[in-house]
């Protein structure tokens, strides 16, 4: 293994960003509405120089109204889930951990369902209620998962799993109360779906706010990455080496939970990405968290944008929920990569 240098991290991330760019271009090009690369470039160029009146209205609608916001949301959700997954895997010292293992998604789903029953058709209610549900679950599991005043990984894991199954049971009960269009909305939400329009008409502000939260949470997790590497060898050893284990765990727990809550609130529970992408990145780039966190973030973004592009195109004009696509494509790809690395 070559030594991990800042230069190497930089180049790896730059390469992945290049890959993300290619995927974004492909995603912009593909879709039920036929539009050539030239037209896309032309539309983007005219948008940049402020000559928008020269572009056909439909190109605007397709490129700026439909595809770009969806790609931006996909990047955000993929990066958040994957970063959160990497965080939980370290925090719980369990390779099976994913962003949903501690019940954050169940809490968010419960919030969303309650909002659909109590206030159907209120714009934005579902996102806000989902985030409140996620935040309450985060707090509840935090207090249940402490032992002797500090976060204890096995206790936390058990508390989270029990909370998740309890919340799921409540969801099952409530689902029998919901009918018609609410049931359809919630089914899509549970599968994970990027098509829900944002709760405000100010798409710029909305995406800006989401990215700001992402950067704060992911940045906070990144500051602990060196310490996380130490904690992974054993908490006792890390303590002896001067790591404030409790503080690190608290930061990682809050950051990973906020990232999960953020992603789940806007897109529902998209599965697999948060579990698989950190492992894929470990296979390619090693297990050092200073490398893993940024590569997982970009890799998650690539995975979701790619999956969403497939979801939009494989059975066009009908669209699949992106969560169905990540689960369908994620498992075989992961098995393939894992077997290939073992050879």
């Amino acid at each position: 293994m070559r030594p991990l240098t800042p230069r190497r991290i930089l180049w790896t991330c730059a390469g992945l960003c290049g890959l993300l760019f290619v995927v974004v271009v492909i995603s912009l090009r593909m879709g039920a509405y036929p539009i050539s690369v030239r037209d896309i470039v032309d539309t983007l160029y005219k948008a940049a120089v402020g000559r928008r009146e020269e572009v056909p209205v439909e190109f605007w609608q397709v490129v700026f109204g439909l595809r770009l916001p969806r790609i931006a949301l996909g990047i955000l959700v993929g990066a958040s889930l994957s970063t959160a997954g990497a965080g939980f895997q370290a925090l719980l010292r369990n390779p099976l951990a994913d962003p949903y293992v501690l019940g954050v998604s169940s809490g968010a789903a419960l919030g969303a369902i309650i909002s659909l029953i109590a206030a159907p058709h209120v714009v934005g209610a579902i996102q806000i209620a989902a985030f409140i549900g996620a935040a309450s679950t985060i707090a509840g599991v935090y207090f249940l998962g402490r032992r002797g005043g500090q976060l204890d990984s096995p206790t936390l894991l058990l508390a989270g799993i029990v909370a998740a199954s309890f919340l799921s049971a409540i969801i099952m009960f409530l689902l029998t109360m919901v009918t018609g269009s609410e049931l359809r909305s919630i089914a899509f939400w549970l599968m994970g779906d990027l098509t829900a329009p944002p709760p405000t008409t100010n798409v710029l502000g909305w995406l800006g706010f989401l990215f700001f939260v992402f950067i704060v949470a992911a940045g906070a997790m990144y500051t602990t990455s060196s310490d996380l590497n130490l904690i992974l060898t054993g908490e006792q050893e890390a303590r002896h080496l001067g790591v404030n284990v409790n503080r690190v765990k608290f930061v990682v727990y809050i950051a990973a939970s906020v990232l999960t809550g953020l992603a789940v609130s806007v897109s529902g529970a998209i599965g697999y990405v948060g579990l698989l992408i950190p492992h894929v990145m470990r296979m390619f780039f090693g297990t050092d968290y200073r490398m893993l966190i940024p590569t997982a973030a970009i890799g998650g973004a690539i995975a979701i944008v790619l999956a969403d592009t497939l979801a939009r195109t494989v059975v066009a004009p009908t669209e699949l929920p992106v969560g169905a696509m990540t689960a369908l494509a994620g498992a075989p790809v992961f098995i393939y990569l894992m077997r290939r690395r073992m050879r």
């Binding site: 991330c13 992974l232 060898t233 004009p317």
Partner: protein
């Protein structure tokens, strides 16, 4: 690469620490922090690019929104409130319609407006010509891009099958969406009249509604004196799901002289078979298996019910009191009236035995009735077009 060749993760994670120590552990803390900072910047750079892209998108989205606004301002519009309470600006002259549900497609055909129908969903199979229209996907997950590509002046949606998210997203693109929300048969007729008005076919709409209402009244006149038949309407057999009191189907049943034997507040309650045995419905109404004709499916349904231990004890099954309703029954569309007529005939044959030659009732079993109804629909379309 020795560490990462291992398949499990924990061994790898353990190795990470030694790597870390090898690389950074021996460096002074300031160097390590510089390293962190530098990487933070690297990461930040990716994010900055993302933000710039996002900002550009959003700026453009806003611009696109205003462009759409400008485009629609140039044309005369009328502001209407749709059946879900949303305010919609609809062009005075509607030339391109996209329907997002089978019943809406059927309504457009019944109004004789098929030339204005630019696209429908892959579920739209009635009349057969609707299958040849460009499809925009399924009612629940249509492709918004495909809808944009058809340049619709008006998109018709319904709360009974479309998602509110789809309506919101289309409205944000500046596309006029009218959502219908009928809960009763009369509500459906009102909704047809309103939609006909919107697309500039008010007269055809009024004529169609009057005709459908006349048919309903004719059925009602024959069965008004008779007691309601208690039926079990089977929405789904396994698990057994029936209808609640407030559904559209419950209202249609009442028009056909029947009443759901199950009283439920929920719209689609799941039942235990014990409850069915307890209430002993007089008739069991099933929705058909599309592959078979009505007559064939009735006998095969009866056979399959008689093969089940709990069901064969039901009096209705013993007596063969099973009706396969037309699949129009669960669609709030003009074809529903024909389905109501058919069901009324099956449940109250005595009321239709007299004067069978008069009026619209050609006589015969459900299959013939359905054929007659559809032939009639065609005639209506022609007369509306004229």
């Amino acid at each position: 690469m020795g560490a990462s060749r291992k398949s499990g993760n924990l061994p790898e994670l353990v190795e990470a620490d030694t790597l870390r120590e090898r690389e950074c552990g021996d460096k002074p803390r300031s160097v390590r922090e510089a390293f962190l900072l530098e990487k933070t910047f690297t990461r930040a750079r990716g994010k900055i690019v993302c933000i710039i892209v996002a900002l550009a998108c959003c700026h453009a989205v806003r611009a696109a929104g205003s462009a759409v606004q400008a485009a629609s301002d140039k044309r005369a519009v009328k502001i209407v409130t749709d059946e879900t309470g949303r305010r919609v600006a609809i062009p005075l002259s509607v030339q391109h319609i996209v329907t997002l549900a089978p019943n809406l497609t059927e309504t457009i055909y019944a109004l004789g407006l098929e030339d204005k129908l630019a696209g429908d969903t892959s579920y739209c199979d009635t009349p057969a010509a609707a299958k040849l229209k460009p499809h925009v996907g399924s009612p629940q997950t249509p492709s918004l891009e495909a809808i944009v590509a058809l340049h619709p002046d008006l998109v018709l949606a319904t709360t009974s099958i479309n998602r509110p998210e789809t309506v919101d997203a289309l409205a944000r693109l500046g596309i006029a969406v009218y959502t219908s929300d009928p809960h009763t048969v009369r509500g459906m007729l009102d909704s047809i009249a309103r939609m006909a008005d919107l697309v500039g076919a008010g007269e055809q709409g009024a004529a169609l509604v009057a005709q459908l209402q006349a048919r309903l009244d004719a059925v009602h006149a024959r069965i008004a004196e008779l007691p309601l038949v208690h039926v079990l309407f089977v929405v789904w057999e396994d698990p057994l799901i029936t209808i609640g009191q407030n559904t559209f189907i419950a209202d249609a049943l009442r028009w056909a002289g029947a009443e759901s034997a199950i009283v439920a507040e929920q719209n689609w309650p799941q039942l235990s078979i014990e409850e069915v045995v307890r209430v002993q419905p007089e008739y069991i109404v099933l929705t058909p298996n599309h592959a078979e004709s009505d007559a064939a499916s009735k006998s095969s349904e009866l056979e399959s019910l008689r093969a089940r231990p709990a069901w064969k004890a039901l009096k209705a099954v013993e007596l063969g009191h099973i009706v396969v309703a037309s699949d129009e029954f669960d669609r709030p569309s003009p074809g529903l009236i024909g389905a109501i007529e058919q069901l009324a005939r099956e449940l109250h044959p005595e009321a239709f035995a007299l004067n069978a030659s008069g009026g619209n009732f050609v006589g015969g079993a459900g299959l013939q009735m359905k054929m007659a109804a559809s032939a009639w629909m065609k005639k209506e379309c022609v007369s509306c077009a004229l």
